[in-house]
Each structure stands twice: as structure tokens, then as C-alpha cells.
């Protein structure tokens, strides 16, 4: 699963995983569980983004649209049709995947910044549309006000829990799924193909690879997971609105956590969110909220430093360091 990992690395990964599983028995304070859930949620979102963007080397800043659309589908299916969010989120994810094909098909022909700007444009079109639409063919979208998930009390079926703990474990399970999915993808034909397209598109075509086809396969999987994450977010807060669930801020968070941690690697995006989200949390709370935006100043600075000094992400020097400690040689 982690082919080129040293023994020390594997041990460390196991320790972190075990720590995450047993964390709630050490920390019981709901506030801390909430924070831990958010860290895991952002890890999951960054990893979903990385599934396509990190491997195929294109920077999407429109991924939040998949989160938002799937979140809306889940909430609306629950409120309008009484469908369990567990099933609704699968529909939502599927819907996001279909939408991603519609957006990705024309867009993946574009390169570099052109691709990035087009993804922003698509996402902004959707967000503005949602914010300005109260009712769409009878579906109450409620514009920028957003939708509230009605409280039904502790119910697994309704994806509602009185405690924070179940949400934490659900997020952790989702994270485990995306990590395993990414690890499998990396070693499969799709993983090889995406790296080939990233390395040299023309060269990849000469080896029988249709770049658009394989980029779209990865994008639709990535959009599906991003959608599941959006549905989770809506259930966790029992609220969804266009700005938070499909705004560009979320897209930027997903992208920079991956990039800072190390895109195109299984664990890099998770490392990124483990570093960045706690910074955001500390900036928000310990300074009493008097410095609105401080955490984003730090994100921006860390991003700039990473691009300049660790262009492949922090995971690369970290792995070298671990390899040196354990005396192994680095690939």
C-alpha cells in the first residue's frame, strides 16, 4: 500500500491512525471532538481534490461546487422526500460526478492557469445561481439564505446525533476510504496514466492514453467523494448555504492543503490539513476572534513559502528526514 515507505514511516502512519481511532477516549470535551472532526473532514476534502488534481497536475479551484451540489441534493431529498441522508449522499455524490463530467469534458483540454480560471468560473456561475434562486421548478432552494436540516433527534437513519462522537467516527471512516481508494488508484492503470498525462501529455497520447478520458474518470471519482464530504458537512452543521458549501474559499482550502502537504501523494493532503487546520483553529480561538482573517494570512504565507522552497509539498522533505533517521536510503 505504501510501496516505497520505510519501516519508520509505516510505524508512524500506524501510530497516527491508532491515535485518531482512540483520540475520543483521551479527549472528551465536545469542543475538541468538534475540532478533530473538522480536521478529519478537511483531510478528506483535500484528499478528494488530490485524487484528480494532484495526480493529473491540474489546479482546480472549482471543486467546492461538487460539495455544494451534493449537499443540496442530500438535504432536499431528506426534507422533500423523507429519504435518509445515508442514501441521499450517495445520490448527491453521483449527481456531483455527473456534473463534473459536464464541466470537465470541455475544460480538460485547457492547460495550466486557463484550466484553473475556467474551474473558478464554472463554480462561481453555480454559486451565484444558487444564491439568486429561491425556487427552481418547485424545488425550494431558498437562495443565499440556505437550507436548515430539520432536527429529528438522535437517529442513525436521519444522520443526526446528539453527541459529536458519531460524526467524528463517520468522518474518520470516510477518510480511511479515500486513503485506501487513492492508494489503490496510485498502483493501478489509472494512477500510472494520470502521472503520465501530468508528465507529458503528447508523450502519453503516443502510448495509447486518451488524456481526456482518464482525467474525466479520475475527476468523476474525485467529485463523488467531494460530494460525499459536502453532504457530511451539511449533516454535521444541519445547515447548508451556497457561500460556505460551494464558495471559492472551500475550493482554495482543499487545494492549498493538498499542495502544502504534497499533492500527488496518498498522505500529503492529510498532512497539509493536519498542519493548516489547527493553525486556523488557534488563530480563531486564542486571539478571541479579534483578528478576522488571521488564519488565512498564515495560509497564504505558508502557501507562498511552500511553493518557493518545497514545491512538491512538505511531505517530501519530511520523508527524507524520516529516511535519514532510520538510516534507510531515499528513492
Amino acid at each position: 500500500m505504501f510501496g516505497s515507505a520505510t519501516t519508520l514511516e509505516r510505524a508512524l502512519i500506524l501510530i497516527v491512525a491508532a491515535f485518531l481511532v482512540f483520540l475520543p477516549s483521551i479527549v472528551r470535551d465536545p469542543y475538541h471532538i468538534h475540532t478533530a472532526t473538522m480536521i478529519v473532514y478537511f483531510s478528506f476534502m483535500a484528499a478528494s481534490w488530490n485524487f484528480v488534481c494532484g495526480y493529473v497536475g491540474q489546479l482546480s479551484l472549482g471543486h467546492s461546487v461538487f460539495s455544494g451540489v451534493a449537499g443540496y441534493v442530500t438535504v432536499l431529498m431528506f426534507t422533500q422526500m423523507g429519504l435518509s441522508p445515508w442514501i441521499g449522499m450517495l445520490f448527491g455524490g453521483f449527481f456531483a460526478a455527473v456534473l463534473s463530467l459536464a464541466i470537465g469534458f470541455p475544460t480538460f483540454r485547457l492547460k495550466g492557469p486557463y484550466f484553473t480560471l475556467t474551474t473558478i468560473a464554472f463554480a462561481e456561475i453555480m454559486r451565484i445561481w444558487f444564491e439568486n434562486t429561491d425556487n427552481f421548478i418547485g424545488i425550494p432552494l431558498k437562495g443565499s439564505e440556505g437550507l436548515v436540516v430539520p432536527l429529528v433527534g438522535d437517529s442513525f437513519w436521519a444522520f443526526q446525533f446528539n453527541e459529536k462522537l458519531p460524526y467524528y467516527y463517520i468522518a474518520l471512516a470516510l477518510l480511511a476510504i479515500i486513503v485506501i481508494a487513492t492508494a489503490i488508484m496510485e498502483r493501478s492503470k489509472l494512477g500510472y496514466y494520470l502521472k503520465a498525462i501530468r508528465g507529458d501529455r503528447d508523450g502519453a497520447e503516443a502510448l495509447g492514453i486518451n488524456p481526456t478520458k482518464y482525467s474525466l474518470i479520475a475527476l468523476s471519482i474525485s467529485a463523488f467523494f467531494t460530494g460525499i464530504g459536502g453532504a457530511f458537512f451539511a449533516q454535521f452543521f444541519r445547515y447548508i448555504n451556497p457561500e460556505r458549501n460551494m464558495g471559492i474559499d472551500l475550493s482554495i482550502d482543499m487545494a492549498i492543503m493538498s499542495i502544502i502537504g504534497g499533492q500527488g501523494t496518498v498522505l500529503g493532503p492529510i498532512l497539509g490539513s493536519f498542519i493548516l487546520h489547527p493553525i486556523a483553529e488557534v488563530a480563531r480561538t486564542s486571539l478571541g476572534g479579534s483578528f478576522l482573517g488571521l488564519h488565512l494570512v498564515i495560509y497564504g504565507a505558508v502557501l507562498a513559502l511552500t511553493v518557493l522552497y518545497f514545491p512538491q509539498g512538505i511531505i517530501v522533505p519530511l520523508r527524507k528526514l524520516l529516511a535519514r533517521i532510520s538510516g534507510g536510503d531515499v528513492k
Binding site: P113, F122, E124, N132, I256, L292, L303, L308, P311
Partner: protein
Amino acid sequence: MDPTLALHVVKNGLLIGGIYGGVALGLSLIFGVMRIINFAHGSMLMVAMYLAWGLWAGLGLHPYIGAIITVPALFGLGYLVQACIISHLFRREKAFVVEPLSALLLTAGVFLVMDNLVLMIFGPDVRAVSIDLAYANFFLGDIPINIPRFIAFVSAIGVAGVLSWWLKTSDMGRAIRATAQNRDAATMVGINVPLVYNITFGLGTAILGLFGALLVPFFSVTPTLGLAFGIKSFVVVVLGGIGSIWGCVVGGIVLGLFEAFASQFVTATSAQIFSFGLFVVILLVRPSGLLGKA
């Protein structure tokens, strides 16, 4: 649409379009010479607007006089961002060409820092300059024309004219054009390419210093204003053809007219959907822009 209304719409579209073109000039110049898309472009306009507002609120300076300070200040800001931050990227790549995505990401970092520093300092409130001129009109036939908007429009055309004249005739202008065409050859004939880059970047943002001062009389400013203007500038540059100065003005006017007409049929916020839609269509169908070669 009745003719009087249509004329009003055309007037509004032309005025705001010219301003879009003026704001986008710097982005186009920087991209044309350095092949970098400055993600923080709109944020720098926002900073210029705050500066102009601060000079008015703090010192009572009329924004048009404040421009004497905002233009060199923004030149300095752009020069420093390029010389202290972006130039490291060029150094790392050991050439004067960088991978475009790294530059985009780096300037996205600058964007995050800038927007949120301003948010920390000034808070999320809307700031506006109120001067009498804001509501002054003159009449062209029956059509009232708002004076500060007209001044901004004329300035956009003027800046485009001066910029293209300066690029053609001055020594530095020639050096910039030479670098844009072939940086290796420029280095070989003794052009100081890093300096050209710093000055290009400074110039590109100095134009924003001017437009910051020209915009505040009729445009209130918030810390998040930058991104919207940045994206619009990308749209304008893509419409007009990247690196083309007059293309930029034309692209701005096209976008302005398009938005003005669209907002006749839907709300102003929804009209933005159409600008983004136009952008996507242009990129997919004709990525070299309206005036660019196919």
C-alpha cells in the same frame, strides 16, 4: 428595447467597460512580458482603493489628489512583491521562465495574505468616499453622463495610449518589449531582465494605484472586493487577447456592454453569471481572444 433605454444601457456599458479595460491593463502587461498570471491583481486594486479612502478619511485628501500618493505606492508594492517574492521562483527555475502554475499559486498566496491583512486591519465593513463630484453629471444630448465615471473611462483610454506610446519609444519600453518577445536574446544584448521584470510588475500595479483613486468616488470598497475585480480582469484579458494593450480596452468594453445588456433582463448579481459564461465560452472556443490570432 426602446431606443432611449438602449442608449442608456450602451452608455453604462461603455463607461464601466472602459474602466474594466483600464483595471486589466496591468494584468495583461505582466502576463505579456513575464508569462505570469497575477492572482493578486484584484487585491492590489482593493489595496489601492483602501489607500485612497484612507487618505480621504484621514487627511481629507480628494481621491484625485490622493492619486499622487497611490500611484507610486502601488508601483512600490508591485516592485517589492516581484523583487522579494516572485523573483525567487525565477531563480529556482534557473531561467527566466517559470512553470505558470507555480506562479499562479505563489500569487494566490499573496492574494490570501493581502485580502486578509486588510480584513484584519479594517474589518469587513463597507467603506465609501463621499464627495460632491460623485453625483455630478453632464449632458450629452439628453443623456446624463456621470462625471467621475467619465473621468475614469477617459483615463483608461489615456493610460492605454500613453503605455503603448511609452513601450514603443522609451529605452525601458523597448527593453520590456524585447524581453516579452525573447528573454534569452534580451539577456544576450545586455538587457537587465530581472530589473525589467521588477519594473514591469511595478508598472502593472501602478496603473491599479491610479484606478483605485479614480474608482473610490463612485465604488465603495470591502476587503473581498479584489477577487471579483481580479476575475473580471482575467475575463477582459482573455477577451482582448493576452498581452495586447488595445485588446484589453476593447475586451473591457465588450464585457461592460455585455453586462449592461444582461442586467436589463436579470438582476445585477445574476448578470455576473453571464460574464462568467462569456469567459468560459471564449476560452473554450477562441482562447487567443477576440483580437488575437486564431
